[in-house]
């Protein structure tokens, strides 16, 4: 059987960063959720969740920083990408309900390397990540020195971020794993590649740019 043609979406580096970050995030969620849901709180006794939460926090804070240090250019590009909103993005917003519910692919304008939904997820993380980090650090290191109101509102802000992030995280997982239209997306974060068809269907703009880029360079 002839192999389906595949295109690379994420480098090894990107995938490692992604999964380590995911691990940190899930660790934080799991060890954090004990403080949110009282009836499982008993599991959290004797502070082990606090220790793990702190380790997770270091990873969670550390990965983006590391990424910045290792791949400063692509990090900046990623941020630029997330902040750059064109007409396709507004088109995406308009088309999203039909697209995701009814599979109306025609309504969806062609998307770049990341679609607008992913941009939103990224932006949210850009927002909540620092909130987590700053309030986390305040609560971690400055609880005895700053007024307790700072801690109290830090908990609040940490929680707001938590709720928003977790809800969006559900969406993220759902779209990555379960949504019928997205059946190919998961592999992009495992082996880094998607099929040509998938790329064309979901990231048409990106696929075309990529195809153009590859030709002059002689390709493989």
């Amino acid at each position: 059987m002839k192999k389906t043609e595949r295109v690379e979406r994420y480098s090894v580096m990107a995938r490692v960063f992604h999964w380590v970050h995911v691990t940190a995030f899930i660790t934080l969620v799991v060890t954090g959720i004990f403080l949110y849901v009282p009836w499982i709180g008993a599991v959290a006794q004797d502070s082990w969740t606090r220790v793990i939460h702190r380790i997770g926090a270091v990873l969670f804070m550390g990965m983006p920083i590391l990424f910045f240090l290792v791949r400063p250019r692509s990090a900046i590009e990623t941020i630029k990408e997330g902040l750059t909103w064109g007409k396709e993005d507004f088109g995406w917003v308009a088309a999203a309900p039909r697209y995701y519910f009814l599979g109306d692919e025609a309504a969806m304008p062609p998307q770049g390397r990341v679609n607008s939904g992913q941009k939103l997820w990224f932006l949210l993380l850009m927002l909540t990540g620092p909130v987590f980090v700053i309030t986390g650090i305040l609560m971690w290191f400055f609880q005895d020195t700053l007024p307790s109101a700072v801690f109290q509102w830090s908990v609040f802000a940490h929680d707001v971020s938590f709720i928003a992030t977790v809800c969006f995280f559900f969406v993220h997982i759902y779209l990555s794993v379960l949504h019928p239209l997205m059946s190919g997306v998961f592999s992009s974060m495992t082996n880094g590649k998607v099929t040509k068809e998938f790329a064309q269907a979901h990231y048409a703009k990106w696929y075309e740019e990529k195809a153009k880029e590859e030709k002059p360079s002689g390709g493989k």
Binding site: L35, G41, A42, A44, S47, S148, Q152, F156, Y174
Partner: protein, 262 residues
């Protein structure tokens, strides 16, 4: 079961501080290293090894000197911020009214110590590792659930501390305030209404702030907004998200199939 309360009458207290030591004796708490801070007061603050301390204050009132002695310990609130924010159930309302603390359940999050309007609970251990436990006055839970009175109350030579049914203590406290009114127009029974009623009430000759107590202790606004609005909102949002995604899954699966795509 009738709720119990402690009534503290600073006008009878002689600051012998038997309560401070009796508490340590019963609860096996070690002495805190201290230095003299230009006053009789010590240790300087509550700590994991100090559940109760007396505050000393010199005050000129009505042309004569007063030396105020005020108890500082857990107030065992009815509307208790610590219980509201405790995520693990380590802090809870005991049917006898006091805030029961089950150290085994404490995860060391420190919320109680940060949300308490009286800044009572203290953390032992390290906030860096997070390996720690909260500590605070236990209301001598093992004693009071075995028909003994709390160690601090029992030890008080001038009967400045009394223990009994909350309504009884209320009556005593009101009576005492009435007696004090002649000399102290500001006399006040602190804890009758504060935070839904405290299980440690003070007969105050002066305004609460003079005694170093918050005039109007409340649950911090953050507690209400966080516990009262945000937390449930979080459940609602998460629920809605999951519901929405499920709905989407059902709809999308049917539609995407009908489009004939795989």
């Amino acid at each position: 079961m009738a709720e119990k309360a402690i009534l503290f009458d600073p006008t009878k207290c002689t600051a012998c501080r038997g309560c401070q030591v009796a508490c340590k004796q019963w609860n096996e708490l070690e002495a805190v290293p201290t230095v003299n801070l230009g006053s009789y007061e010590n240790p300087p603050d509550l700590s994991p090894n100090t559940y109760i301390k007396m505050r000393f204050k010199e005050l000129e009132y009505d042309k004569s000197l007063e030396w105020l002695f005020t108890r500082r310990s857990c107030m065992h609130c009815t509307n208790a911020a610590c219980v509201e924010v405790c995520p693990t159930g380590a802090l809870s309302h005991h049917p006898l009214g006091f805030i029961d603390y089950n150290e085994d359940l404490c995860s060391g999050c420190g919320y109680c110590s940060q949300f308490c309007p009286f800044q009572v609970p203290r953390m032992s251990g390290s906030s860096i590792t997070g390996i720690r436990k909260a500590s605070k006055c236990l209301f001598c839970a093992d004693r009071v659930t075995n028909n003994l009175i709390p160690a601090c109350v029992k030890t008080c030579p001038p009967h400045a501390l009394q223990f009994g049914d909350q309504d009884q203590m209320l009556l005593l406290g009101r009576q005492r305030v009435k007696e004090l009114k002649a000399k102290y127009p500001d006399a006040y029974l602190y804890g009758e209404d504060e935070l839904g009623g405290l299980h440690v009430m003070y007969v105050l000759p002066h305004k609460p702030t003079v005694h170093g107590l918050p005039a109007d202790p409340r649950l911090p606004a953050s507690t209400t907004v966080w516990q009262g609005i945000l937390q449930p909102a979080g459940y609602v949002l998460a629920g809605l998200t999951v519901l929405g995604l499920g709905l989407n899954y059902l709809v999308a699966r049917a539609n995407v199939k009908s489009h004939g795509k795989g």
